[in-house]
């Protein structure tokens, strides 16, 4: 595969089973285009996903991929990246996957500043289990399991990421194809952990956080005079619950990613036929 891979090269021949109109189509297209635009090839890309609608992404894309278990995609992606610094790693998840069952892993992946791109398909509902509240559902969002709403405020993933020392924090809207692709591209280019929380509406079960809602309420940071290198400004926007910002909220361009700071340069997939040179010294230590 040459380095001038095209978007289409990242597409598998499997037709997505997402509902017609699902936001995940746009989210995935942005990832594929972002990967192609940043010079990656399917042979040198690894995509990890968990469970749920978002988890199917590995099937619909063409790259090395692992479809794991619910909430554990980030540790898998981290393992791939540490072992293979030469491989581009993208982790895709849903809001339940990333902010509920996988919330612990999320915080720690941010802290580690591992150089991967984490795209969360945030539809603010559990889709594949047919419409229960998710951690980003509004507190009064009525569902089959929360008839009076979840009675607790939604998780603010960007605030979590910022407080955990995130070095690239962005939000996106799957329907704004060009803008979404541009944000994902920047995330891939960032040296360190990048989160792109992507509004990815569920047309079947979520009648509140719809395409129309987002179109009416989104504020693009490019039109809001926002400086993504200003952490205070990022904090103010992230904690502003009245608006739905998209764009890069915060980027620490000077951050050093985990592999550069602590990891290995040489990929780990080579193994000698016998014990590595110098192994006998290990025995001597016990004399």
């Amino acid at each position: 595969m040459s380095s001038n891979a095209r978007f289409i090269d990242f597409k598998s021949d499997k037709q997505p089973t997402w509902c017609p109109g699902c936001g995940d189509f746009g989210t995935m297209n942005g990832i594929m285009k972002g990967l192609a635009e940043t010079g990656n090839t399917p042979d040198e890309t690894f995509v990890v996903a968990g469970i749920g609608c978002s988890g199917k992404i590995g099937t619909y894309m063409r790259s090395y991929a692992l479809h794991g278990v619910h909430g554990r995609a980030l540790p898998v992606g981290t393992g791939v990246k540490i072992a293979r610094p030469d491989i581009e790693v993208v982790v895709a998840g849903g809001d339940g996957d990333g902010y509920s069952i996988g919330a612990g892993h999320f915080i720690h992946a941010v802290r580690r500043n591992i150089d991967l791109t984490y795209v969360v398909m945030d539809n603010r509902i559990y889709g594949l289990t047919k419409g229960q509240a998710s951690p980003t559902s509004r507190s009064d969002f009525e569902t089959s399991t929360t008839p009076d709403g979840p009675k607790q405020p939604p998780v603010n993933p960007l605030a979590l990421a910022l407080s955990a020392g995130g070095t690239f924090i962005a939000q996106s809207f799957s329907s704004n194809a060009k803008r979404h692709q541009e944000i994902v591209q920047k995330a891939i280019e960032h040296d360190g952990f990048s989160i792109v929380n992507t509004f990815s509406p569920c047309v079947t079960f979520n009648d509140v956080d719809t395409y129309d809602y987002f179109r009416d309420n989104i504020v693009d940071l490019d039109e809001a005079d926002h400086d993504p290198t200003d952490r205070e400004a990022a904090k103010d926007k992230i904690l502003d619950n009245d608006k739905e910002y998209i764009g890069v909220l915060w980027e620490d361009e000077d951050a050093t990613d985990y592999n550069t700071a602590h990891g290995v340069d040489e990929p780990m997939h080579e193994v000698p036929d016998g014990a590595p040179d110098g192994a006998t010294d290990l025995v001597r230590e016990f004399y």
Partner: protein
């Protein structure tokens, strides 16, 4: 003169018990003596009774026995805790100047050596060295050349500067001198030295060393007693071989990190203990279904739940065999000695990659907290062979592609083993998943494909049984009517128990099994014996169940589950009761 010596230092956690014990154990080992250590400790950082015990002899020692000859008692409780093992002639070294010992009376028949450990340590440069003073006293009592301590002190304190090393050497000599000057020194002990070279290490260290030997470059784990030493060992060492250790946020992350690294093509492992195995069970199924090679070390402790974290048990056998929902092919290796932990770890990596499966390698607390001497050639790095199985590169990839050039990562083959392509391999792009999948790795609910893939995964076990040597080790009299079988760490105690049994004219054939799944078929051996006894550290006899299942024969069970390992003499008595 007595050469087989049982020694202990005991006090409160935080008293430097462990490091003092280790210094003495290393000195003995360097003096060409065999050493077997054990530890009594509680799950707390400071306070509470804790002890480091050493059995040492010129001949090989592989177990603890019910006897204590020399005891350094830093607290009076230390004497009480060990009363069962102390005997007439036992020497107790204590510091009578401590308030703790103001009312202390040396038990009848024993020899009490009141040594002002703290004052002498202060004379040498600081009260902190009181344990070293006691070690010097031991050298005098046991007729062990004190020079042998010097190198251990150098190794332990060299990093803190020569002055500290010299002070410690001085402290030891003051202890030796005090005993020589104040007591009759015709003790019954004489620790000979020899020219033999030995190494001294525990199971966790042997597993860590085996991992590096096998080319493992990625380790992720979460601290848990008694598995943490694997991570401690690898940290700072694996980096020298191009590897990396991650302390994960939890066990779920640890196994998923290792899974990721393995998918990247690295030899990867994690280690934990029972409670961590529970948490990893979720991903264990994914590892098996996605056919990812992964090594998981389970260093068992007393369960269930958090149980007794600092106590011995072999209670996780069923968990390793059956843990996880659905049907999961796996290998379960149960090395029976510390040195075998090294070899079986190398084997675990080879099995994992040759058959693309998760492999459990188990040890237990009694091996993990036991430093034991071995001849260095038992860890022969030149004999290590690494086999990566069916890894394919660009040149072979087309053989494994379908008509649309898609890589068949889960191709159905006669031996059940599919090709493996690492990321970066041109033409090897594929997805893996915990969902049932077709040959390409794509989700399927097709009834035929489901059966094909299940059969394929099971076939790998059948293939391994044909190709590999899942054998047992044998001791004692092969023609005996009495057959004792054990798995894992009981081997040392049982081998020594054979000597005790022989003294009482009880003839035994002993089979030690280092593989639980797949495992050797012992039907012929069981049928040939009149009495069959399965020994294990759990209450129900999990391994005995397997033997009965395999051989369709009832067996006797000898079980211990009070948290303490078998002692050789105790085990001999229990065996005798069953077979005689």
């Amino acid at each position: 003169m007595q050469d087989d010596l049982n020694w202990a230092i005991g006090g409160e956690a935080g008293d430097g018990i462990d490091s003092t014990g280790k210094i003495f154990a290393q000195a003995l080992s360097r003096a060409g003596r065999h050493v077997f250590t054990s530890k009594d400790f509680a799950s707390r950082i400071r306070g509470g009774y804790t002890a480091y015990k050493i059995r040492t002899a010129v001949d090989r020692v592989q177990s603890v026995v019910d006897r204590l000859d020399i005891l350094i008692a830093l607290t009076e409780r230390t004497v009480d805790e060990n009363m069962d093992e102390l005997h007439d002639g036992s020497v107790i070294i204590y510091d009578g100047e401590r308030t703790e010992f103001s009312d202390f009376e040396v038990p009848d028949g024993m020899v009490g050596l009141d040594v002002p450990l703290k004052s002498l340590a202060e004379d040498a440069g600081g009260a902190i060295m009181r344990n070293i003073v006691a070690l010097g006293a031991v050298c005098e009592v046991a007729d062990f050349p004190i020079e042998n301590l010097d190198e251990s002190l150098q190794k332990k304190f060299g990093g803190k500067g020569e002055k500290i090393v010299e002070n410690n050497k001085e402290a030891a000599r003051l202890g030796e001198q005090y005993v020589a000057e104040n007591y009759e020194t015709d003790f019954d002990f004489e620790l000979e030295t020899t020219d033999e070279d030995y190494v001294l290490l525990n199971a966790d260290e042997a597993i860590g060393m085996g991992a590096i030997a096998a080319g493992c470059k990625f380790y992720a784990g979460y601290p848990i007693t008694p598995a943490t030493d694997v991570m401690t060992y690898l940290t700072g060492r694996i980096e020298q071989f191009g590897g990396h250790v991650v302390q994960a946020e939890d066990e779920l992350a640890a196994i998923n990190l290792a899974l990721g690294a393995a998918r990247g093509g690295a030899r990867a492992m994690t280690a934990t203990s029972g409670p961590g195995i529970d948490l990893m069970a979720e991903t264990f199924g994914l590892v098996a279904t996605s056919e990812t090679p992964l090594v998981i070390a389970n260093i068992m402790r007393s369960g269930p739940s958090t149980g007794m974290p600092t106590k011995q048990e072999q209670g996780d056998l069923n968990m390793m065999l059956y843990g996880g929902h659905g049907e999961i092919p796996r290998f379960v290796l149960t090395p029976t000695t510390v040195s075998e932990c090294f070899h079986k770890t190398v084997e675990a990596f080879n099995l994992a990659e040759k058959y693309q499966m998760p492999v459990y390698i188990s040890a237990d607390l009694s091996m993990a907290v036991t430093e034991q001497t071995f001849k260095p050639d038992e860890f022969d790095m030149d004999a290590v062979e690494n086999d990566r199985g069916k890894v394919v590169d660009e040149s072979e990839i087309s053989k494994w592609q379908d008509e649309q050039d898609r890589f068949k990562a889960h191709a159905v083959t006669a031996d059940g083993v599919s090709p493996r392509a690492f990321p970066g391999t041109e033409g090897g792009v594929h997805m893996s998943t915990g969902l049932e999948h077709d040959e390409l790795g794509r989700r399927t609910e097709d009834v035929d494909e489901r059966v094909e893939q299940v059969d394929k995964r099971n076939q790998k076990v059948a293939t391994a049984e044909e190709r590999e040597d899942f054998d047992y080790r044998e001791f004692g009299n092969a023609d005996s009517d009495n057959l004792v079988i054990s798995w894992g760490s009981n081997e040392g105690a049982m081998v020594e128990a054979l000597d005790f049994l022989a003294e009482e004219d009880v003839d035994v054939r002993f089979i030690s099994v280092p593989y639980v799944f797949p495992r050797p078929d012992l039907t012929d051996e069981v049928e040939a014996a009149e009495n069959v006894v399965v020994v294990e550290c759990n209450s129900t006899g999990q391994f005995a169940d397997l033997i009965e299942h395999d051989t369709l024969t009832r067996v006797e069970r000898v079980n211990k589950y009070n948290g303490v390992r078998y002692k050789a003499d105790e085990l001999a008595a229990e065996i005798k009761e069953v077979v005689a």
